[in-house]
């Protein structure tokens, strides 16, 4: 892989729901191996942006490429956007792993089943090979001993770690995290953040939407601050959080004082 | 297959009489079922252990056996224990006893579904017990019990047809008799089906309309 090709390139991206435009022309690039934290007040469009990158939402305008390959839409010869066939979407998207706020583990499968399922169904591995691989992934997130448990029998933090293992089992080049700790009790966020920190140390390209300011400041190599559907600031944690600070950042930090921002103020 | 509608016009008075019987049987049994069902639900909640378990058995029996068997037992068995009624009162009583069991379950669920916190909140702001029932419990319950009550009302419309088996002169009975006299079952029964379909659809729509009207009370999560 040519290292000058960005992991993700977004250009001129807009997203509207009916009449309301929630993202107004986003241009961003994320390099390989970079951990980017998308922060911003609620309603700023960060989750929508992440869902567009996962192609769970189709952008109204603009283009996204993953490691140089067009995702979902490409520019046609006449300068108009054309929708790519679903098979191509799936191929490009297979480089992306996604972790959801609500975990979204399949309730009728065990932790092991959740991780092994796509290896069998999508990758065509044998059940036993898939389960061996799934076991390794569960061990990696510290849940080897919970393989036989159903999601309903796991704590929120454990469920989210299984969800991370499920995404990792498919060898993604990029991991997207959509508020991975927002539906967890405060005492359970640590175990999930630790797994993510480990993943960052291993060199995974990560894009994280989160209110965990402490995590963003310590693990993030880059911070993107979204405000009202636009990129307000973009830079290293020291550039964004260091003084002198943008007044909107100050306001934002005040609101999230309890999320590890205290150390920054 | 011929489809001859003239027999309908020839027998219009009988059909209208049957229509009227079906309608009032339905209206009275629904009203009676709601009142009796409410009383059963209240008695099961506040009436002590014995009453609660006796009524629990009654509800289980009514819900666990076919209405047809219940109505046969009442109609054919009644005279043996000194209850000699003509068809129509028997049918009406049967419907009310049957419907009340289902309505009581709706009210019971309704009582249980009003959050305790709402009642505590009412007490905290100084409402008396009766005020709490009238201003908090009943309006909140109304919204909860409306959709299932409409369902049961619809079930009762359809059960009135079963009363034809004990020769209550309601619409199904009248129509079947005309069908056999003129050997025009298909015509008669098709119209009959359309009539019930119409009545059930109208009732369902009215229920949804009322629900939409009431929904401004809907719980804020």
């Amino acid at each position: 892989m040519n290292s000058t090709v960005p992991a993700i390139r977004i250009s001129g991206l807009t997203k509207s729901y009916g009449e309301t435009e929630v993202l107004h022309g986003i241009d961003l690039e994320f390099a390989s191996g970079e951990v980017t934290c998308l922060i911003g007040p609620s309603g700023s469009g960060k989750s929508t942006l992440l869902r567009c990158i996962a192609f769970l939402e189709e952008a109204t305008n603009g283009l996204i490429s993953i490691e140089g390959e067009a995702l979902g839409f490409a520019m046609g010869p006449g300068g108009n956007r054309i929708r790519l066939p679903q098979a191509e979407v799936r191929a490009v998207r297979s480089r992306i792993g996604m972790v959801f706020q609500q975990f979204n583990l399949w309730p009728h499968m065990t932790a092991l089943g959740n991780v092994a399922e796509a290896l069998v169904t999508v990758r065509g591995m044998s059940r036993s090979d898939a389960e061996a691989r799934a076991t390794r992934e569960l061990e990696r997130v510290g849940l080897g001993h919970r393989a036989g448990h159903y999601p309903a029998q796991l704590s929120g933090g454990q469920q989210q770690r299984v969800a991370i293992a499920r995404a990792l089992a498919l060898d993604p080049r990029i991991m997207l995290f959509d508020e991975p700790t927002s539906s967890l009790d405060p005492e359970l966020t640590g175990e999930v953040l630790n797994v993510m920190r480990q993943l960052a140390d291993d060199g995974m390209t990560m894009l994280v939407v989160s209110h965990e300011i402490g995590f963003a400041a310590s693990v993030g190599s880059k911070i993107v601050f979204l405000d009202q559907g636009k990129v307000l600031l973009e830079g290293s944690p020291t550039e964004v959080f260091g003084k002198p600070r943008h007044p909107r950042i100050d306001q934002f930090l005040d609101t999230y004082l309890d999320r590890g921002a205290a150390t920054l103020i | 297959m011929s489809f001859d509608l003239s027999i309908i016009w020839q027998n219009l008075p009988d059909i209208l009489a049957g229509f009227w019987t079906t309608c009032w049987l339905w209206a009275v049994s629904t009203a009676g079922g709601i009142v009796l069902g409410f009383l059963v639900a209240v008695a099961r909640r506040y009436g002590g252990r014995l009453i609660a378990s006796v009524l629990g058995v009654y509800v289980a029996i009514m819900r666990g056996t076919p209405f047809l068997v219940q109505i046969f037992l009442l109609y054919y068995g009644g005279p043996f224990i000194g209850i000699s009624l003509t068809e129509t009162p028997t049918g009406l009583i049967g419907l009310v006893i049957y419907g009340a069991a289902y309505f009581s379950e709706v009210f019971r669920a309704g009582f249980e579904a009003v959050p305790v916190g709402h009642i505590e909140a009412a007490e905290c702001v100084g409402l008396t017990r009766w005020q709490t029932v009238r201003r908090i419990l009943l309006p909140e319950m109304a919204l909860l019990v409306l959709p299932p009550s409409v369902n049961i009302a619809v079930i009762l419309i359809k059960e009135t047809a079963v009363l034809s088996t004990i020769t209550v002169p309601e619409l199904t009975m009248v129509t079947s008799v005309i069908g056999s006299q003129y050997y025009a079952f298909v015509e008669a029964l098709t119209l009959l089906a359309l009539f019930y379909w119409f009545l059930v659809e109208v009732t369902g729509r009215a229920g949804r309309w009322a629900e939409a009207k009431l929904s401004r009370y809907r719980f804020a999560n």
Partner: protein, 213 residues
């Protein structure tokens, strides 16, 4: 009431079980087809399925049975009254099962399907491995409930002359002049059958570990 009479009722309830069982299975299969119509994006299919459900839920089963019983010969289809009864019961219960299934499919959280999407599942794979199994398990209580309702409703086929439990009770009651014990016994048999079916459903549901919270 003699033991002999009671055993006649028990035997007759065998036919009730057969007729109901066959109708429940056909109704469930047909319910799937109707449900596909209800969920279909094609307007014509959608309308047809809605109309089917509305009609068979809006007309008393007794009237449906009488209509089918007389309509089939009129259309030149000669079948036994048992077949006509099974057709009637199946059509009616299919309408209810279709609604149950629609609710089940609607209740599968969107996020679970998005997760499958992100794991690279095709539409069909998502349906087969994720959506259908979850919807089925969510729908199970309603499906069992409808099966119990159909068991009770099958008493109405006595009207077209099938000697199942209710008709047998009627015949015995009129020949012995002892309606109370006979109809009470018939009621008891229905009650037991319904309780068993509901019990099996509850047992199966309790075995589903994943539903436990």
């Amino acid at each position: 009431m003699s033991w002999k009479l009671f055993m006649l009722l028990v035997k007759a309830s065998g036919l009730t079980l057969v007729i109901s069982g066959v109708s429940i299975l056909i109704g469930l299969a047909l319910g799937f087809v109707i449900c596909a119509g209800l969920l279909s994006g094609t307007r014509g299919l959608n309308r047809a399925a809605e109309l089917f459900v509305s009609f068979f839920r809006g007309v008393p089963l007794l009237v449906q049975l009488l209509l089918i019983y007389h309509l089939m010969p009129a259309l030149g289809i000669n079948v036994s009254s048992t077949t006509a009864a099974i057709v009637g019961l199946s059509l009616c219960t299919a309408a209810y099962q279709a609604e149950n299934l629609r609710a089940g499919f609607g209740a599968v959280p969107r996020g679970l399907l998005e997760a499958a999407d992100m794991c690279g599942f095709s539409h069909f794979q998502t349906f087969r491995r994720i959506r259908a199994p979850i919807a089925l398990r969510l729908t199970l209580p309603a499906i069992i409930n409808e099966a119990v309702l159909l068991l009770k409703a099958s008493s109405l086929v006595s009207v077209v002359g099938i000697v199942e439990l209710t008709r047998m009770a009627q015949d015995l009651a009129s020949s012995t002049y002892r309606p109370i014990p006979i109809f009470a016994s018939a009621g008891l048999l229905y009650f037991i059958i319904c309780a068993i079916v509901a019990g099996i459903g509850a047992l199966y549901e309790r075995r589903q570990k994943w539903a436990r919270r």
